[in-house]
Amino acid sequence: MARMKFYCDAERCIECNACVTACKNENEVPWGVNRRRVVTINDGVPGERSLSVACMHCSDAPCATVCPVDCFYTTDDGVVLHDKDICIGCGYCFYACPFGAPQFPEDGAFASRGKMDKCTFCAGGPEEDNSADEYQKYGSNRLAEGKLPLCAEMCSTKSLLAGDANVVADIFRKRVVKRGASVLNKGVSYQNASLRASSVGKDK
């Protein structure tokens, strides 16, 4: 069975935020909820790198472990989804997730957060596939149509990959080899190749 995963190639991510808006577009995600976000480390200095992060669809999902009402489930593809009808909006999954994937539409006093919303790998939810109910609650179900998450499909530099973990790993492995090989072909050490950062000379 294919296990679905995301992978973001930090060498190529340019923080164009297409993945963020593509997700909003496809799933009509309201203002204030961001299923996907791009984080930039070392912002503004040599060594700056960006990563696009949303739900990682963990094999051993901590959100599913901690949920007081056990509203999560993992599909056969390895996609971690949850049932908004069961969710009570307690926020524990948000604490448990190392990546901060769960989002809440409200931010009120007395912890009235509303139902948790998160990246579904464009696989909808427990409602019937591609039904109006499913779309209204969870967004699009592209997996049921044989497609892949729109964030990865619309990535400008193809840095965000999504799909069968084996295929994704294979693509990335080939990329790294090609990056390294193209360097070695020219007789330059790999050290200077993949993480090209600052300029040749020192700054004044």
């Binding site: 923080e15 935020n17 963020v20 204030g32 961001n34 976000r37 791009v38 984080v39 930039t40 480390i41 070392n42 912002d43 503004g44 200095v45 060594g47 700056e48 790198r49 990563l51 992060v53 901590p62 472990t65 901690v66 949920c67 007081p68 009402v69 056990d70 509203c71 049932d83 009808d85 069961i86 969710c87 009570i88 909006g89 307690c90 926020g91 524990y92 948000f94 604490y95 448990a96 997730c97 190392p98 990546f99 901060g100 989002q103 931010d107 009120g108 006093a109 007395f110 912890a111 009235s112 957060r113 050490s189 790999y190 050290q191 993949s194 993480l195 950062a197």
Partner: protein, 362 residues
């Protein structure tokens, strides 16, 4: 180690075996074969981005981390505390919490079975003394009821998944849990306010006084039949009071942090608050079992103090001798007749008590 089942020779041999096992264990710890948790296997070519990604893994990035998405913790790529918190809640808090609560409940039940109700040595006399004002009683019951509600809803949220879902099913439990969560969040601040009022009202009577340590060392007289001394509140009640106040404050403060996420506090603060809240709550609930038992079934004459505000003088002399003496000295005793009038009852004769509607007849 003394052991009836082994000969001295085999005991020595066993000791030697254990010694060597410990030695091997310690050597393994020191062995360079032990792969460290953080770094990858040593390689000839270093990936120059090693340091960067290691710092990301541990959320210790040194440079500026930004994101155009501006929500709580949006710039935290990986929160290493998340996993620890999850495991704490799902293994330690739930398991140990359940264990502690069960053990305390069982111990109390066993105590009742073996020891029975602690009756007054000299029995009830009928002569009463005023102990708690109306305000104090209302305050106590408000706090108590709110506490029981919070404890109940809290325990539903904590233990519901392993214990209740198998019985009730996901959909019904979700309704119950959602109601519990809303109720718990709503009444929490009320608990906090009541707790503060409780604190101000009773704090002076709960300050440590001479004789309290003795009371404690003698187990409050529960074990054995030694005599213990106490003031308005004895050491037992004082201990309970301070447990309530301290754990209650811990619960309230951490609870406020949890229930008001609109100040943008990060997840690490929330997780910490939850840990404090959970541990303090388990402690408070388990000790409350003791208080509730003792205040109701456990000792004769205690419940009346909170139900009516008055206690029997004999009860006072046995449990709070110094306060009883004060009442004697200040002539605060109320005869049975006067007490009945207070209650709105008229005593026609010793055996009959009539309702207030009947006229007093002589």
């Amino acid at each position: 180690m003394s052991n009836r089942f082994m000969s001295k020779h085999s005991q020595k041999f066993t000791c030697q075996i254990y010694f060597f096992l410990y030695l091997i264990f310690f050597l393994c710890l020191l062995s360079p074969l032990n792969v460290s948790a953080s770094g990858p296997a040593a390689s000839k070519i270093n990936n120059p981005s090693n340091d960067l990604w290691i710092s990301v893994r541990h959320n210790t990035e040194s440079g500026k981390v930004t994101s155009q998405v501006k929500s709580v913790d949006s710039t935290v790529l990986i929160n290493p505390q998340a996993d620890r918190w999850t495991r704490f809640r799902m293994t330690q808090l739930i398991n140990y919490g359940l264990f502690i609560l069960s053990v305390v409940a069982v111990v109390i039940m066993l105590f009742y079975l073996f020891r029975g109700r602690i009756k007054l040595e000299e029995g009830l006399s009928g002569i009463m003394v005023h102990r708690f004002t109306d305000y104090e009683r209302i305050l106590h019951w408000m706090l108590a009821i709110v506490f029981i509600f919070l404890a109940g809803t809290g325990l539903i949220l904590l233990f519901g998944r392993p214990l209740l879902i198998p019985v009730l099913g996901h959909e019904f439990f979700s309704v119950l849990a959602s109601a519990s969560k809303e109720g718990h969040n709503l009444f929490g601040p009320i608990f906090f306010v009541s707790l503060l009022l409780m604190l101000f009202r009773f704090v002076r009577r709960n300050i440590y006084a001479k004789g309290d340590l003795t009371w404690l060392l003698k187990g409050g007289g529960l074990i054995g039949k030694s005599h213990v001394t106490g003031g308005f509140f004895n050491m037992g009640e004082k201990t309970w009071y301070w447990i309530v106040i301290l754990t209650g404050l811990a619960i309230s403060v951490s609870g406020l942090v949890l229930v008001l996420p609109n100040f943008g506090q990060g997840r690490v603060i929330m997780e910490l608050s939850h840990v404090v809240h959970g541990i303090a709550a388990i402690i408070l609930v388990s000790v409350s079992f003791g208080h509730i038992y003792l205040a109701t079934k456990g000792t004769e004459g205690t419940l009346e103090s909170m139900k009516t505000g008055y206690v029997d003088i004999k009860w006072a002399e046995e449990h709070h001798d110094r306060w009883a003496k004060e009442c004697h000295d200040n002539d605060r005793l109320i005869s049975a007749e006067d007490y009945a009038k207070l209650q709105g009852r008229v005593v026609l004769d010793q055996n009959v008590s009539a309702s207030p509607l009947m006229e007093e007849t002589k």
